[in-house]
Amino acid sequence: MTWPEWMVETVGRVRLVARLAARDLRRRPAEAALLLVTIVAATTTLTLGLIVRELVGDPYQSTRGATAGPDVVAVMAPPPGETPGQPSGQPTDIAALEDLTEADSVVSHSGPYPAAGAELEAKGQTGQTVDVQVIGRDTTPASVDRPELTQGGWVQESGVVIEAAFADAKGVTVGDQITLNGQPFDVAGIAVTAASSPYPKATCYSACAFDATPDELSEVPTWVLREPGLVWVTRSDALGLASEPDSMPYVLYLQLEDPDEAREFVNTHGPRDFSVPGLLVWQDILEESSYLVRDAQRVFLLGSGLLSLMAMATVAVLVVGRMADQSRRVGLLKAVGGTPRLVAAVLLAEYVAVALLAALVGLTLGWLAAPLLTEPSVGLLGAAAPSLSLYTIGVVTGVALVVAVIATFVPAVRAARSSTVVALSDTAHAPRRTNWLIAISSRLPTPLLLALRTLGRRPRRVVFSILGIAVTVSGPVAAVAGYAQLDEQLAAGGSRAESVERLLPVLMVIMATLVALAAVNAVFVTWATVLDTRHASAVARALGATPQQVSAGLATAQILPALAGAILGVPGGIGLLFATDDNVPSLPPFWQFAAVVLVAVVLIALLTAMPARSGGRRPVVEILQSERG
């Protein structure tokens, strides 16, 4: 079979571009590896952010399936009294709940069940009570909401079943003795349900307080339940626990013909006033069940945003450095007949290939790491099963490509369009002249003179360095600014503390990744600067600059952008915090931000000291003899 000529030509061209790009990557493996690692950091975090949300759905859906979870939970509260929130003592309108079971779309129901607030005291924790909601259930299995027992048996007289996440948090197991409002009960079982989100976000059937600080809790009225747990008892026990058995909330669980129509059902039958039941759809319970994951997702998306910016800055620095090195290669390619399009394709292909590989690695790492970071709550059934949706794959690959292409497109096209003679003579990347820096520097001590002139030679590299440091510093600044809030939440305990405790390691990993990338970036930029200024440094030394002065100049040329970037990172970090958190506390004192800036600058100084020292001590004669003007 003979292939058409155009196809042979195209395939040949693609193979040529691929081969040239691969060889160039192999020529500088360290840079290629750094490029890969940088983009992988961003794609992994982004992958985690995108798939972590999907992870929680699986355990909840498993639980829903296993427990015949309701599509709608209806709650009828007793008529309100004159004091807001307090019942009037009038009987609850149970008939209003029962009317819902007659609705066309309802295929099955269970209840209404009486619900009461109570104080639970576990054995061995005398005097330490926690709020719970008790629901009075039949001793026989219901058609809708059959809590799945993970331990023990179902409710019986004086035998209660405790929601699994609540039991886990309080260390209660089957056989323990507890008291509810002072009455003794045995723990008959531990169970999970899809009719309520797991503790500490249990779905509330009366007035409840969540995420409150100790100060806020002290102001909460006594009839409001504080982050209550969920306990199932028999109907008679529930009535026995209520202060006014006729005037207590009732709960009804409904299954609809089409669960996806749950919201429409609520719109049709939803509450207009206190005379009709309050309705809650299963999607809301799912949403509440995933609050940990929501926080994690926010952290990952934020982290991946920062890492993507960092990756872009790093890639730009690498590309600009490589392009300078590649100008002669571009000249050679053009001299042997390579068109500007072919040259641009070769240069872009390198970075696109690295970006695609980074996307693949990032997707894999994110997919593997996701379950470790989002292990399902003990209040739900089933293990998290991470999956990569086409959407996730598309977004991650797209971001990796965008990072690579944005950073490489302009230099690649410029190199491709440069004159062949200029490229061959290697003057395509002659240093820039920055008049004002040269003028100012002539009035400064030698290290600063050398530093400012070094900065003036490569202004674009300086901009990328500043951006990289600003992005890096904005992370810790946001952490410092938000620390007071985190600290408060940790001290307060409860659900937010759990969320913070769980997310802190993730935050730390992202920060560490950012800092590591910034460190590698700083060392790379310093090396690139040392190489780029080797001739200027050698001339300066021939004219009488000491190695120490040259080294100090090179180091200062890194520290000045680092200082600018670190200072920019302060408003950046504060802005980041405000953009991602609606509940920003008052900002910490100025010295804390100054300390972050100082630490960043000192770290950069330490990191760049070695390459800068080496740059100041390179053999002058060797360089002057190898660089012929």
């Binding site: 002659a430 001339v539 300066a540 009488g544 001590r617 002057l624 003007g629």
Partner: protein, 245 residues
């Protein structure tokens, strides 16, 4: 060493490599350059001329031997002291000019003075004077890329003179220049000679060598011949070179 000796070397040796790969670039060289004297060193490529010049200027260190500059032994100085010495006592002129591409002619010339710690205004005034002296006052604001080879070398010579050094060391100063530019540079060296500047010039160019007070021939790292020329002391370098028009 005479009292008026500015630069001296004794038993200078420079080895590269070890064992069978050992190369002796400079082999037992003795040299004296007196105040105001022009010494030319000639020899084939690779004979060690440039290495000798680098050692004399403190850019490189000898394997053995001594280098004295103005009665101060410099071959044992640390890098910092060598750098300070280069700032004030030595001016280099390279074949490849080694100007900073991003600096104008006047900025290149004033750089030496700035590195020596002179005030910016003083350095600029001195650089402007020197550019006038080398005939480039009207090119002070030009970048090296806008100058001809001869003009670049004249800028480099002006830079070498910036701190009024004891000795100017020139490494193939006309090696990259055409005839007309070579004449310009020769004329400048003649002016320096007349002004009493001590010069050590390494060159392939017999015309430059012929203008020196002394001509040393070098081969395989050693001095094999030394000739005292009469013309050089008259200061008529251009005449001797046969390039006066």
């Amino acid at each position: 060493m005479n009292n008026d000796t500015v630069l001296a070397a004794r038993g200078l040796r420079k080895d590269y490599g070890k064992g069978e790969a050992l190369v002796r670039a400079v082999d037992g060289v003795d040299l004296d350059a007196s105040q105001g004297e022009t010494v030319a060193v000639m020899g084939p490529s690779g004979c060690g001329k440039s290495t000798l010049l680098h050692i004399l200027g403190g850019l490189d260190r000898p394997t053995d031997g001594e280098v004295w500059l103005a009665d101060r032994r410099i071959d044992r100085l640390g890098e910092r002291d060598l750098a300070r010495m280069r700032r004030t006592d030595v001016g280099f002129v390279f074949q490849a000019f080694h100007l900073m591409d991003e600096l104008t002619a006047v900025e290149n010339v004033e750089l030496s003075a700035l590195l020596a710690g002179h005030a910016a205004r003083v350095a600029r005034r001195r650089a402007t004077d020197l550019l006038e002296r080398v005939g480039l006052a009207d090119r002070a604001g030009f970048l090296p890329s806008a100058l001809s080879g001869g003009q670049r070398q004249r800028v480099a010579i002006a830079r070498a003179l910036s701190n009024e050094p004891l000795v100017v060391l020139a490494d193939e100063p006309t090696g990259n220049l055409d005839s007309a530019s070579t004449l310009d540079v020769l004329q400048l060296f003649e002016d320096l000679h007349e002004a009493g500047q001590t010069l050590v010039v390494v060159t392939h160019d017999a015309r430059i060598a012929a203008t020196a007070d002394r001509l040393i021939t070098m081969r395989d790292g050693a001095f094999i011949d030394e000739t005292r020329l009469t013309g050089g002391t008259t200061g008529r370098l251009g005449d001797l070179a046969g390039m006066d028009g």
